[in-house]
Symmetry: C2
Subunit: 333 residues, 2 copies
């Protein structure tokens, strides 16, 4: 696997430098750690700090923006940022109204973000967290907290960012972000692996005519490997698995994300969306807003996921607030 | 190559249906042809119609929006839209102030867009065109009109869209878009091919340790095939080739796009941007704005291109006007 890199060890620091250089109208890099900070951010609100391992770009660094994250703490590729990075990143953006951390539910992230919260507490800075576990393929329904966070992270960041902007207090922002998380399910399919720069093997192996449902965004094992199917069949399978997990009724309003894992094209994902819309229409479910993009990738992995966020009045109001960053902009309604 | 499709023959029509379904808050599909139309568009200005072959998503359908294209005429994969499609798409959005077509400089597109212009003329609708030929690897400097259009299309669409919004007349919009085109150069590098859905072979072959400079976005032959190099070496090569072709002086202001061809990650392109910024800084060139994204793809092709737009006062003013579509939003300055 050919990669456009220099020294594999420098990938994350060089990429963060370039990323912040490119978007220097919006971002600055933390002077000491791998944290991306929003310039000209509001200082009168709860600070939203997001983060996790690198390698999933634009997630998380690309979701720092107005009405989104105030900062992102970035780890090495597929590795949690260390507690010091998280702590310093949070300290750089906290405004004495407290810090909400939003991140994917992985053991390393949980441990390191918790340690950062302890460090903040020692400094008298209030903080709390919402762990996203939207991947309904990664553990059974009665073990929600064992599930992984995948592309649905974006919806929780969007809602939490809007709640911060709306002036809610820390415990209210947390409750709202949890509401988004609990109304959200995702599931994906993979057809080819990604590869970490510098390693000589991809994250998994799969035959030329096979695909696997439910794989994670680091190549974690899924729930079923089969021969390649049509995208209509795949979309039905994914949607029915989400419906098995979350009640979706006629009259419900939802937001939908079809997320590419790296090398799957907008063309292919648009075909999937077409089928999904048919299925939602047949169920009487109304789509409030939707996106097709590669927001949470696993390097150049092939495949995509479907995320569905069920709205209620509160979530809809927050979803409809505007947000802006170079990778994700909503005009607001 | 596994693709997420149904019947290969239905890829473009199914994808366009899904794409327009997904962004139905913004777009509608032309009832008869493969045209994407902006809803709620301004009716008091020159209509900007963009288009070309499908398979490069989000280019072109994804650049229909406020301050961007009013509509996109979409061909089959890597094939120009037919004259009827272009004509009908233009007729659906023209406002009696004339139509400007912006598209990449390819024989098929040139022929079909010209024929559509003749059809419009028969109906008494004024139209003209700007062909984008930003790829400086595709023909020598004294044969500009033999060059191909690649990712730099986006800059010409941005400037033309802003010129339309600013209320310029058709001939002025054309002159402005040509000014953008003439101040723009791009060049790319490829490391792996893309594949058209339904075909059993990729667009080209390349060894596991090789890359090629100057390849086109349909896999057209480039200017030099070599062993894989570091991204810093590649970035220097690309920048120096642009500088050989276009005068860039200390004090100049530029906009920069690093465009991924499909499977190349934001992480990798960010490292390239870091090097490019060093080189521009050393030359005393100021970056006014920049992006790292996969805006003009060749299915899941590996590689990226650098596009540089040299600004003058007029181009800068137009570039700084706001625009919005789901794939490309600028807040304006």
């Amino acid at each position: 696997m050919k990669k456009f890199i220099n020294n594999p060890e420098d990938v994350v620091s060089e990429a963060l430098t370039g990323f912040v250089d490119c978007y220097s109208n919006y971002y600055e890099k933390h002077e000491e750690v791998n944290g991306v900070l929003l310039k000209n951010r509001r200082k009168d609100k709860v600070a939203l700090v997001i983060g996790g391992g690198s390698g999933h770009e634009p997630m998380f660094s690309g979701f720092v923006g107005k009405g989104l994250g105030d900062a992102a703490a970035c780890g090495n590729i597929f590795a949690s940022p260390d507690p010091g990075t998280i702590y310093e990143t949070a300290m750089a953006v906290e405004n004495s109204k407290g810090v909400l951390f939003v991140y994917g539910n992985y053991a390393g992230d949980n441990l390191n973000f918790d340690m950062a919260e302890e460090l903040l507490e020692e400094d008298g800075v209030k903080s709390t967290h919402v762990r996203v576990w939207d991947d309904c393929a990664s553990a059974p329904k009665d073990r929600l907290t064992d599930r992984r966070g995948i592309a649905g992270d974006l919806f929780v960041v969007k809602i939490a960012g809007a709640a911060c902007d709306a002036g809610l207090e820390l415990d209210e922002v947390k409750a709202t972000a949890e509401m988004a998380r609990d109304n959200l399910r995702s599931i994906g399919v993979a057809s080819s692996p990604g590869q970490i720069p510098g390693l000589d093997k991809p994250t998994f192996e799969i035959a030329d005519d096979e695909m696997e449902y439910g794989m994670g965004i680091h190549g974690e094992k899924g729930i079923e490997r089969t021969k390649m199917k049509t995208v209509d069949e795949i979309t039905e399978y994914l949607y029915f698995n989400i419906k098995k997990d979350m009640e979706i009724n006629s009259g419900d309003e939802v937001c939908v994300l079809i997320n590419g894992l790296g090398s799957t094209t907008i063309l292919e994902m648009s075909i999937a969306y077409r089928k999904l819309k048919e299925l939602l229409d047949a169920d009487g479910v109304q789509v409030h807003d939707s996106d097709i993009n590669s927001y949470c990738t696993c390097q150049e992995m092939g495949g995509f996921s479907i995320s569905i966020l069920k709205l209620n009045e509160e979530l809809k109001k927050l979803y409809d607030m505007p947000c802006y960053c170079p990778y994700y902009a909503k005009e607001g309604k």
